[in-house]
């Protein structure tokens, strides 16, 4: 009840302030009148009576002020007044205000943009889908790609048959859909033009239904897409805009996707990206088109003994059922399928495999790992940068506060409480920060675009929209408020700590500011230095990492290598025809002028592809078996890469399908299985579901990194491409040529007329340098940004130190003038100033060193070829900081030494 009364009266007060003020005035006036009447009755003259009555009241204004501030809701008044005052102050000093607003806008903008990316990548639910909290996933959300063979433990993906089985029998779900786990890039022809790359996914007809998406135009997939070979496509809003200028007649148009015509039936809404956050496919095609989109494969049919696992499965659990119940049912169906597939003889293959029904409102996320950890590092450093910037502002405000000391002293001696003045100063700062925050709305958007462009270097398919969702807005608000408080409270505290009387009598001549304020300034400058240290060291370590990665120890010569991915899918069913075609292509490439050497392999270099076999190594002791990595390679593979053959020979042209089976092992393999003995002449036997093949080791090759730049080289053996069956649909030719991409037309021409199954249009060329560069793009981007942040932090810290020392020098002008007048030499004055700095710099470096050590440990997993506590980088960061600190303090010190005592002491 009281609350209501108060609220109403506060409202009335706010809305009808003039009337309320007038009433208060009248009431107090009446008090004086009535008191005066009494005093006249007591014998005073009317004028004396009024004077006495007014004195009794104690002054109209103070009483009014006490009434105002005693009222409930008085704070609203105060706030409004402080705000008005703040705005006035700001307009009085536009340069200062713009500096503050600009600094904050940039600092908060960078943080907000990074937060949006970080949040969108890691935490936000999938955009544009219905009730993301009820979406579940049955496969591994961290996994992306596909796998041929046999899995164990929790399943990463399922096969098409497994999905179909679930969809038909799993009654615990109101809907189930499947989507291709990897995002493909297809050659797509629009209107008979040249093929362009477009990204897309194969999805089941239930895909859009289960996600709960409505078309922006046309229709989405339905039952039709799950039967026959439906030639339909749904395109994304961005592709529609980019490729069709948002024209409605895009519906019904034909796209040629890798020789297969499909008709556009619909467009998705703008915010929709699908089931994997952070990636925007250009189009979705029905699952049943798989054999036609990837010729030579058929992932729709099960072909024992291998399974092709490539689909993620999502669904919605029927209401009234728990996820656990759905999990039980789905696994029962799944296991029954496995038993049937493997049969009683190989029942153990099925053991341990299972699905896991889990919430998937954030969608699949396999790709996110790299980008996410980079964003976390960047967000953290941006936060520190903002803190350093705020400290600078705090310093600036301390200095400005002392310029306003007279004004504040007057206010305080007129009875404003300290709390009141502090609140007013902080409010002023909040006004500035709020404007900074508003400006940050804009800068965040710009920074976002720039960041996304940088991140596209890392992952060309990276896509996160910038949107002011509640979490992003909340972050922006919190960052703004934090910035205002961090930069505002300390200065306000210091400005008001002084005795107003002494300020007024000192009159601003001679000494400016108090010792406490100077101490605060020094303290802040030291803090800045210590915060800058970890940013600098981190940047240094990351830059050295990139440098090391750019010249990695690969174990082979990475220069002048051109990679050409050739599709052989159409020939998969006929290995001898395929081998013949590859042999002919190999020979023709070798004849191209400018080609020094060439070979090929199934996995290529740094593609992420991986191939293993179950092996036995006779005579290798107890460790003589297990899974080992392997690759199928063409003749002169090692010579082409320039990997030294340490013993024995290279793969030769004479190693054919019908000759003696041989292999070459790398050093890691020899170490594990042959323990120092000469491997040449030993045997490696593979076991493919009971089919055993024995390969004689004919060579030992030096370890080389062909799969990952960072990881250690794993034990691996290499077999001639023709001596081991493969259902792989592509081969990568490794072409050693100084001509770079100039040989591309010749290679294309060489493909003509060899075999109808080799299509010259279906070939991708990449210089190895470009692929290595792409592989380290993430590191490079982070290092680049870390360097920018480090440099910014250094600049800000230097400005902070410079500001504090300049101020200190100005404050001690008289003292220095007297010393100089008494004959102090300029070197001793400079020494005095620098000695004062030495303490704070040292303290900053020491605490900063500790922080830096912690930070370096935290990013250790990102480093390559450099230890977190690398002394050289540590020394360099220390050196840079010392140098900058010296320069920032030397300039004011020299100014102190050059003070003209006559002018200074005369108050000039």
């Amino acid at each position: 009840m009281i609350v209501l009364h108060r609220a109403v009266s506060i409202l009335r007060w706010l809305l009808r302030r003039d009337r309320a003020e007038q009433e208060l005035h009248d009431e107090l006036q009446a008090f004086i009148d009535l008191a005066a009447d009494d005093k006249v009755r007591g014998g005073l003259s009317p004028s004396d009576a009024r004077r006495m009555a007014a004195i009794d009241l104690g002054g109209l204004e103070p009483v009014k002020e006490r009434v105002r501030s005693a009222r409930h809701g008085a704070w609203i008044d105060d706030l409004a007044r402080d705000l008005r005052y703040g705005v006035r102050q700001m307009r009085r000093n536009p340069a200062f205000s713009l500096t503050v607003i600009g600094t904050l806008a940039l600092g908060i903008g960078v943080n907000t943009a990074l937060f949006n990316l970080w949040h969108g990548t890691l935490h936000a639910p999938l955009p544009g889908i219905e009730r993301p909290e009820t979406l579940v996933m049955l496969t591994d959300r961290q996994a992306t790609g596909s796998m041929v063979g046999r899995d164990d433990g929790p399943r990463k993906w399922v096969s098409y048959a497994e999905f179909e089985r679930l969809r038909q029998h799993a009654s615990a779900f109101s809907g189930l859909m499947a989507s291709q786990s990897g995002l493909d890039a297809w050659g797509v022809t629009v209107d008979g033009g040249v093929p362009e790359k477009a990204t897309g996914r194969l999805v089941s007809g239930t895909f859009f239904d289960v996600l709960g998406v409505r078309p922006a135009l046309g229709r989405l997939f339905g039952n039709l897409e799950d039967s026959g070979e439906p030639a339909s496509a749904v395109i994304s809003h961005s592709y529609w805009r980019r490729r069709f200028n948002s024209r409605p007649d895009a519906i019904g148009r034909t796209l040629i996707v890798r020789d297969t015509p499909v008709t556009i039936v619909g467009v998705t809404p703008p915010e929709f990206v699908g089931e994997t956050g952070g990636q925007q496919p250009d189009m979705w095609l029905p699952l049943r088109l798989q054999p036609r989109v990837l010729p030579g494969t058929d992932w729709l049919r099960e072909r024992p003994p291998d399974k092709v696992m490539w689909l993620h499965v999502f669904g919605r659990v029927k209401s009234g059922l728990t996820n656990a119940q759905a999990d039980t049912q789905a696994n029962a169906i799944f296991l029954a399928g496995l038993e049937e597939f493997y049969g009683p003889a190989r029942r153990e293959e099925a053991a341990g495999q299972r699905l896991r029904v889990q919430p998937a409102g954030r969608g699949a996320s396999g790709y996110r790992g790299d980008v996410a950890s980079s964003l976390t590092v960047l967000l953290a450093s941006a936060g520190v940068l903002l803190l350093i910037a705020c400290i600078n502002l705090a310093n600036l405000l301390v200095v400005r506060g002392s310029a306003r000391q007279i004004e504040i002293a007057v206010r305080m001696s007129l009875g404003a409480s300290r709390r009141r003045v502090v609140r007013q100063l902080v409010t002023e700062n909040v006004v500035l920060a709020a404007l900074g925050g508003v400006a940050a709305l804009l800068s965040a958007r710009l920074v976002h675009d720039a960041l996304v462009m940088l991140l596209r270097d890392v992952d060309p398919r990276f896509f996160i929209a910038f949107s002011f969702t509640p979490p992003v807005l909340a972050f922006l608000g919190a960052a703004t408020l934090a910035a205002a408080l961090v930069s505002g409270i300390l200065p306000a505290w210091h400005v008001t700590k002084r005795d107003p009387g002494s300020d007024l009598t000192a009159g601003g001549r001679g000494s400016i500011g108090s010792r406490g304020e100077l101490r605060a300034g020094h303290w802040l400058a030291g803090l800045q230095l210590s915060l800058t240290f970890p940013l600098l060291l981190g940047a240094g370590l990351l830059v050295r990492t990139v440098d090391n990665l750019q010249h990695p120890v690969l174990g082979f010569d990475a220069r002048h290598l051109l990679l050409a991915d050739v599709q052989v899918g159409a020939l998969v069913q006929d290995p001898s025809r395929r081998d013949r075609a590859l042999r002919e292509l190999h020979a023709r490439i070798l004849r191209i002028p400018g080609v020094e050497a060439a070979s090929f392999s199934q996995l290529g270099l740094f593609t992420g592809g991986f191939s293993t076999a179950t092996i036995e190594v006779p005579g290798a002791g107890p460790s003589g078996g297990g899974e080992s990595a392997l690759d199928r390679v063409g003749s002169n593979y090692f010579a082409t890469l320039r990997v030294p053959i340490l013993r024995g020979r290279d793969i030769a042209e004479t190693d054919r399908a019908d000759t003696h089976t041989v292999c070459i092992v790398n050093e890691a393999f020899a170490r594990r299985y042959f323990a120092g003995r000469d491997p040449v002449g030993m045997r490696v036997t593979t076991d493919d579901y009971g089919v055993r093949t024995s390969y004689e080791v004919v060579g030992l090759a030096r370890d080389a990194r062909t799969r990952s730049i960072r990881d250690d080289v794993e034990p691996r053996f290499f077999v001639p491409a023709e001596q081991r069956p493969s259902r792989g649909v592509s081969r990568t030719f490794l072409i050693r040529t100084a001509g770079g991409e100039r040989v591309v037309p010749a290679v294309r021409a060489a493909m003509e007329g060899i075999d109808a199954g080799l299509s010259a249009s279906d070939i991708d060329f990449t210089p190895l340098d470009a692929r290595v560069s792409l592989a380290i793009a993430d590191d490079r981007t982070v290092a680049r940004l870390a360097l920018v942040f480090g440099a910014a932090a250094l600049t800000l810290a230097a400005m902070g130190l410079y500001g504090v020392l300049s101020y200190a020098v100005r404050r001690r002008t008289n003292e220095f003038a007297v010393r100089i007048a008494l004959g102090a030499r300029s070197n001793s004055i400079i020494g005095m100033v620098l000695r004062r700095t030495a303490g704070l710099v040292l303290a900053g470096l020491l605490t900063g060193g500790v922080l830096a050590y912690v930070v370096a440990r935290a990013i250790a997993s990102r480093l390559y070829g450099v230890a977190p506590q690398d002394p050289a980088t540590m020394l360099l960061a220390t050196g840079v900081l010392l140098l900058i600190a010296f320069v920032a303090s030397y300039v004011p010190a020299r100014r102190a030494a050059r003070i003209d005592p006559l002018r200074a002491l005369h108050g000039g």
Partner: protein, 108 residues
Amino acid sequence: VDKLDVPQGTLDLMILTILAREPLHGYGISQRLTTLSGDEFHVNPGSLFPSLYRLEQDGKLKAEWRPTENNRRAKYYRLTASGRRQLEQHRERWHRVSIAVRSVLEGA
């Protein structure tokens, strides 16, 4: 002149008591307080008016402008039902407090 300060927290109670008898304006309340206290309490308008405004905001008092007997206009405060309830509660409590204080002082 050695006047007593109005003890902390009792001003509201005294205002309510005075207004329980009849509606009064601010000056009237301060005069009545001085008289009733045997000239011991002199309340400062800087304390009186904030109290009046707060009590009014809390709905304990209601105010209206009325002519005085000498034909000046003044703002008269009167007790609301809720003010009367608060007065009874506070008066009851004050009695207990003063009895308790007196017995402590005399018993010691």
